[in-house]
């Protein structure tokens, strides 16, 4: 029985590396993306595309977005832009009236007099108008701040040559200029979460989410799912993605079609945005419970591979808590095994960290030049010390055992035990620390301290912390509010 308990505890400890191991698998699959023949069925087609841009008080960003849209490498007669103005109170209506005159027959202003119901309702208002006419063959849903690179749309639309493809999404890059530390963390995160993860999902022939800022839907697929998008959740884009695939269509990601978007500059802004996403994922997980790990007509949504990708993210905080529980329990019942498990966890974390980080750098060298420091610091300074200990531990204990004992990091004293216990607790404590940094930012007295503390605590733990907060909100049945991310329009200087 004791052996079984030990095995279970060690397994719990190693579960702490689950997210990174799945990350490694994603990068390995992304490397094999070409084997899935991503361009085997593309063709030079230009379907009539109706672009929907939901907008609420977006005067600061809309003009540039519309101009960029009209300058795309796409036949002008095949492109119409519908801005759905969600009862804006700034200069948005005036701006749109001017733009409609500037681009007659191409830019349309759809006004909702009663606003504030959320993005999904606003998009559906536009969809009803567009689908009431036969003109549109495909619908592009995007955001007011998203800047399309000139060839992004035609790179996306080429996939619709395959009638089995119902939707296409692209690589959204963080484009705030001048970006701060938070923008650069997000920029690096998007290499892993989009460029790598979505290529891996292409290989598995399933997509988790059409990026809300760039989703191209074939008209047929959209009509088959009812011609509207879900309004009962905070993840309307993920619901659309699942529904399109459940209707028997494929969803594709094109990592070479690039758009730029402005992302939050503060922890509070990131917290609001990601809490919405995490609550949405929680809702998706429950709503599609009949799909997980089931074979049938769900395409590959029910596959084991997709479940592994999805649940490694959804259960990320639980894995962290399990690892901490395992380490601390072992610390009290079997110290040598606790030390060995600790070393194994952090060595495993170390190797997977190196693989994921350097793969990201090579996957998007342009973004890596801008975000390499945030990429290296992604786990946080304290976690990096633990990773180093895991990687170099055997070398240190072989060659420097005496010195480590002299400075108090090894040997029979109390200090080594306390250091080990603190390190064991850190996986979970780091989430609490990240929440503390958010509170510090909200307090507003020491803004200069926020960035250094995030480098110490880590951006990864911050994301875990937000996920926990989102689940608590969801379990409490908190109100579903669409907290809009503030935009300044300073985006895409490099686009």
């Amino acid at each position: 029985v004791i052996e079984v308990v030990h095995i279970v505890l060690v397994a719990m400890v190693l579960s702490g590396a689950t997210v990174l191991i799945v990350g490694c698998i994603q990068f390995a699959l992304a490397g094999l993306h070409v084997l899935s023949r991503p361009y085997a069925k593309v063709a030079e087609i230009y379907p009539a595309v109706a672009v929907i841009i939901p907008a609420w008080n977006e005067a600061a960003v809309l003009e540039r977005t519309i101009d960029r849209m009209m300058g795309l490498a796409y036949p002008r007669e095949k492109l119409r832009v519908y801005i759905v103005d969600d009862a804006s109170t700034d200069g948005t209506p005036q701006l749109l009236a001017r733009k409609a005159t500037e681009y007659p027959g191409a830019v349309f202003h759809l006004r909702r007099d009663k606003g504030g119901e959320g993005k999904a309702h606003t998009i559906n208002h536009g969809l009803r108008t567009i689908l009431s006419e036969p003109w549109a063959e495909a619908i592009l849903v995007t955001d007011a701040d998203v800047i399309f690179t000139p060839t992004a749309l035609r790179r996306m639309s080429r996939h619709l040559a395959d009638p089995r493809v119902g939707a296409v999404t692209c690589y959204i890059k963080e484009g705030s200029r001048p970006g701060n530390f938070m923008n650069r963390f997000i920029g690096f995160e998007y290499i892993t979460a989009q460029a790598a993860a979505r290529r891996a999902q292409n290989v598995l022939d399933v997509q988790a989410c059409l990026a809300g800022g760039a989703q191209l839907l074939a008209r047929g697929a959209l009509e088959e799912i009812g011609g509207v998008i879900d309004t009962t959740s905070l993840a309307e884009d993920t619901f659309t993605t699942f529904n399109v695939q459940l209707a028997g269509y494929r969803v594709k990601f094109d990592g070479n079609a690039v758009v730029w978007a402005e992302e939050p500059r503060t922890i509070v802004g990131l917290w609001k945005q990601r809490q919405r996403w995490s609550r949405g994922n929680f809702q998706v997980t429950l709503r599609y419970r009949h799909v997980w790990l089931r074979r049938g007509n769900q395409g590959h949504l029910g596959s084991l591979g997709f479940a592994a990708l999805w649940f490694s993210i959804v259960f990320m905080p639980i894995f962290m808590a399990m690892a901490t529980t395992g380490l601390v329990t072992l610390f009290f019942i079997d110290r040598p095994l606790a030390i060995e498990s600790f070393k194994a966890l952090w060595a495993l974390t170390g190797f997977t960290y190196l693989f994921v980080t350097f793969s990201s750098f090579l996957l998007d060298t342009e973004m890596a030049r801008r975000t390499w420091f945030q990429g290296l610091m992604f786990p946080g300074l304290i976690n990096l010390v633990l990773i180093t200990a895991g990687l170099l531990g055997p070398i240190l204990t072989t060659h420097f055992a005496g010195q480590l004992e002299t400075v108090g990091f090894a040997g029979p004293g109390l200090a080594p035990k306390l250091i080990l216990l603190a390190a064991d607790l850190w996986l979970t404590a780091s989430m609490l620390a990240a929440w503390g940094v958010k509170k510090l930012e909200e307090w507003g007295r020491m803004p200069w301290l926020v960035a250094p503390l995030i480098y110490v605590v880590g951006y990864g733990p911050l994301l875990c912390s937000i996920t926990v907060a989102a689940y608590i909100q969801e379990l409490r049945g908190a109100e579903m509010r669409w907290d809009k991310t503030e935009k300044t329009g300073q985006v895409g200087e490099f686009a």
Partner: protein
């Protein structure tokens, strides 16, 4: 059957069977690996050929250039991944040698 007899027969069996079975498994694994390599290479180059003969209207030459560029990039991801794998593997070996 005495316990001694059972032990003797068991040990005789063990001295031969695993070695024969082991080498057979190795051969099978090598064959599977070789076939996987062949299939992989076939898919890689087959995919490239299929994309090259697209029924495109070629209305805009830059469209084809983009496609060629994108295909080249996706192919390059293989060696990029292998490069990182080799780097991490080298670190692992160095760690083992130094400890």
């Amino acid at each position: 059957v005495s316990p001694g007899d059972t032990g003797l027969r068991w040990s005789e069996g063990m001295s031969k069977e695993p070695r024969r079975g082991g080498s057979s498994i190795s051969r099978k694994l090598a064959m599977v690996f070789f076939l996987a390599l062949l299939v992989g290479a076939g898919k890689l180059f087959g995919g490239a050929r299929a994309a090259r003969v697209l029924p495109s209207t070629r209305a805009d030459p830059s469209w084809s250039r983009d496609l060629e560029k994108d295909r080249r990039f996706e192919r390059s991801l293989i060696w990029r991944t292998v490069a990182v794998l080799l780097f991490v593997a080298a670190l692992t070996v160095a760690r083992q040698l130094l400890s």
